[in-house]
């Protein structure tokens, strides 16, 4: 196999849709070979990229062991699959979808248990009174072990759960759970409550680069191209293009106002009657305040419009990947 860039995307559900949408918005159309049932694909118009459709867990493993170059997966899964995700995976961009927390929950009827310290005591009590250990249902075995160790909880057994973890306490197969939840509705329905200090980690979908994958010239080139487009689209999403006209005499004052708002001047052209037209890019959140200041400074019309892409001087996502790869190489030596 030549130096193909391998990109892994979630194969089903909300995560798949959101991931494909994320690429499509950047003009990268993901195509499946042979329809929905097949698990390989390509990006339309870009050669040298193999798209693989995998479960989010497989993507996390693939990023960690270097089988894939780029992939979208959850932070929870990276932490579950390895003790040190930072050593082998570069998180390039938080994607603002797939939000969920990994939490510790106990039966609501345990009125006396509010914190991990309470759970530690109850675990000791269960052990002393019934000679058994607190049973914790989870599919996050490693995350659970390290979180419990941090809190000094040792009197417990993990009951591995592959589905419907939140039903385990009611079914009598576990006492507490460590699970992922996005709204908490399933927990409430199962009469479970989250401990006050029981949020183990906040997870969301991340675009990640593998540090252990074989990166050749071809795969790096493809990554630079794809990450460049995604970054340009991400930048465009957060910024707005502003056009305004100002009299030549007031240009310096206007430029100061723009600089103070964090805006970046894209172009300035002189036009009839000594007026100047300025075009700038500014964070969406800062726009309305900026417009007000500009009007006070005498600008006659201030218009704004959404942009599709903003390519800046640098390619921040690719730069982040390169930096992490360099640091990993330095650690390896």
């Amino acid at each position: 196999m030549s130096d193909t860039l391998i990109l892994a995307l979630p194969s089903k559900g909300r995560l798949m849709e959101a991931a494909e949408e994320y690429f499509l918005e950047a003009g990268l159309k993901i195509q499946r070979h042979g329809g929905m049932r097949r698990y390989q694909g390509a990006i339309k118009g870009i050669d040298g990229v193999e798209v693989r459709f995998l479960s989010a867990g497989e993507i996390a493993s693939g990023l960690i062991n270097g089988d894939i170059h780029l992939g979208i997966t959850g932070r929870d899964l990276l932490h579950e699959k390895t003790h040190e995700p930072d050593a082998c995976v570069a998180p390039l961009s938080a994607l603002n979808f797939g939000h969920a927390d990994v939490i510790v929950a106990v039966p609501e009827a345990w009125l006396d248990v509010e914190t991990m310290a309470d759970l530690v005591e109850v675990a000791a009590e269960i052990r002393q009174e019934s000679g058994r250990l607190l049973r914790v249902a989870t599919k996050f075995i490693n995350i659970t072990r390290s979180f419990f160790a941090q809190h000094g909880l040792v009197d417990y057994r993990i009951v591995e759960s592959l589905g419907a973890t939140e039903g385990a306490p009611a079914a009598g197969t576990a006492d507490a759970i460590v699970d992922i939840t996005s709204s908490g509705a399933t927990l409430t329905a199962n009469h479970l409550k989250i401990l006050q200090d029981g949020v183990v980690l906040n997870s969301e979908a991340f675009l990640c680069g593998s540090l252990g994958a074989r990166w050749g010239e071809g795969s790096l080139d493809r990554a630079k191209d794809i990450l460049g487009r995604l970054a340009a689209r991400e930048r465009a999403r957060s910024m707005i293009e502003v056009r305004l006209e100002t009299q030549a005499a007031g240009v310096d004052q206007v430029k100061d106002i723009i600089a103070a708002s964090g805006g970046e001047l894209a172009s300035a052209t002189g036009s009839k009657g000594g007026d100047q037209e300025l075009v700038l890019h500014v964070q969406k959140a800062a726009f309305h305040d900026l417009a007000a200041s500009l009007r006070e400074a005498g600008c006659r019309t201030v218009t704004a419009r959404e942009l599709e892409f903003i390519y800046g001087a640098n390619n921040p996502l690719f730069a982040a990947l390169e930096l992490e790869r360099e640091q990993a190489a330095a650690r390896g030596n």
Binding site: P107, E108, A109, W110, L111, D112, V113, D118, V120, E121, V122, A124, E125, I126, E129, G131, R132, L133, L134, R135, V136, R145, F148, A149, G152, V154, D155, Y156, R157, I158, P169, A170, G172, A174, D175, H191
Partner: protein, 383 residues
């Protein structure tokens, strides 16, 4: 046979002869064990340290991480419900998973003894402790070990100390349960000197009720919330903890005097009988009644100083707090900080493994691999 192997074989035979002469009979214990008892006794975290695997039929098995639990299981099978004294000696490999890159071996040979089911009174206990300590020392000496250090402690004495403190029972339970994690124990002591946070809602009310009314209140609350059971626990235990929380908030924090007595106790270390004198004095000053446990410790200390002869033995109150399943006497022999042999009393272990009642037991093991290495070093130094 390589010289090391020859050396090791001779060494094991010497050790075994010492054990046999004291009436310990060799038992053959299975290397492959059911994982359940190990996980139940030590908790989930031990998975990081032992080799656990499943057979094709789904049973979870492990390679024995030590030979004490297998010896206990052997005892239960051999004696059934009858109990009675047994003296077992064993020699064989134990297996521990090591972190990648560690220089520690993942399999190593142990020679050990376990003395189970002796009479359950304090004199027999102290004598058995001293006998096991003495045999371990003798076996190491006969194998050629010189210039080691011996350290001992007594977890039973600490338990008695906590038991005798004038504090609420659930505070005692907390201190007992966190003793083996020094940093948590320190945090807990500090926490108990501060006034507990005021309970909110139901707990605030419960503090003023007697047990029966509190129980009724909690049942009522669960009813209203549509919760018809307390999964995994009982309403009684939930109520009790809620009442404890309410009382904690209302009661005075732990007095600085009690904290000082615990901290001072844990600092005591020295020659066994001399150190125990200091414990006795400390208990007297603070009015802590631990005479019975102290007498056992003193008898044992006297016997141990006799068998140790000129070997330096240190008694440290704090020693052994992080060891698993020990309940009383604990000891180890070290050479330049590395443990060569160790052991102690584990009176609860057989009960937890299924014995019908408490079975007093004490045992020790010698790390054959480390002893071989130390003896080789001694020889090298002489030449």
């Amino acid at each position: 046979m390589t010289p090391e192997k020859q050396q090791s074989t001779t060494q094991k035979a010497v050790i075994n002869a010492v054990f046999a002469s004291a009436g310990f009979t060799s038992v053959d214990l299975p290397i492959i064990q059911t994982a359940e008892p190990f996980l139940d006794l030590s908790g989930e975290d031990i998975r990081r340290r032992i080799y656990v695997f499943s057979d094709p039929y789904g049973e979870e098995l492990c390679l024995r991480p030590d030979l004490t639990i297998p010896a206990c299981l052997h005892y239960l099978e051999a004696t059934g419900a009858k109990g009675g004294e047994r003296r077992y000696a064993y020699e064989g490999l134990a297996f521990r998973c090591q972190v990648p890159g560690s220089a520690r071996p993942n399999e190593f040979s142990q020679s050990g003894i376990e003395l189970m089911g002796q009479k359950d009174d304090k004199d027999s206990g102290a004598k058995a402790d001293a006998e096991v300590f003495g045999l371990t020392l003798e076996a190491c000496r006969k194998a050629g070990l010189v210039g080691f250090e011996a350290k001992m402690g007594d977890l039973g004495l600490f338990a008695a100390f906590i038991e005798a403190l004038d504090i609420p029972e659930h505070w005692r339970a907390r201190l007992r349960n966190s003793f083996w994690q020094p940093s948590r124990f320190g945090g807990l002591l500090k926490g108990l000197t501060e006034r507990q946070k005021k309970p909110e809602g139901v707990a605030a009310v419960l503090g003023k009720l007697d047990e029966a009314s509190a129980l009724e209140t909690v049942s009522g609350l669960l009813d209203i919330a549509g919760l018809d059971s307390v999964p995994g626990r009982s309403i009684e235990s939930v109520t009790r903890r809620l009442m404890e929380k309410a009382r904690d908030a209302a009661s005075e924090p732990l007095s600085p005097g009690i904290i000082t007595s615990i901290e001072d106790y844990l600092k005591i270390s020295g020659a066994p009988r001399e150190a125990l004198k200091r414990v006795r004095k400390l208990a007297g000053v603070h009015g802590i009644a631990i005479d019975e446990a102290l007498e056992v410790a003193e008898t044992r200390a006297r016997l141990i100083e006799e068998v140790a002869g000129d070997a330096p033995v240190i008694f440290a109150t704090e020693f052994g707090r992080s060891f698993e399943y020990y309940t009383g006497f604990v000891f180890e022999l070290t050479d330049k900080g590395e443990q060569i042999a160790g052991g102690g009393r584990y009176d609860d272990l057989l009960l937890r493994l299924g014995a019908p009642e408490r079975v007093p037991a004490v045992g020790a093991m010698i790390r054959n691999d480390r002893l071989v290495a130390v003896l080789a070093g001694q020889k090298g130094a002489k030449q």
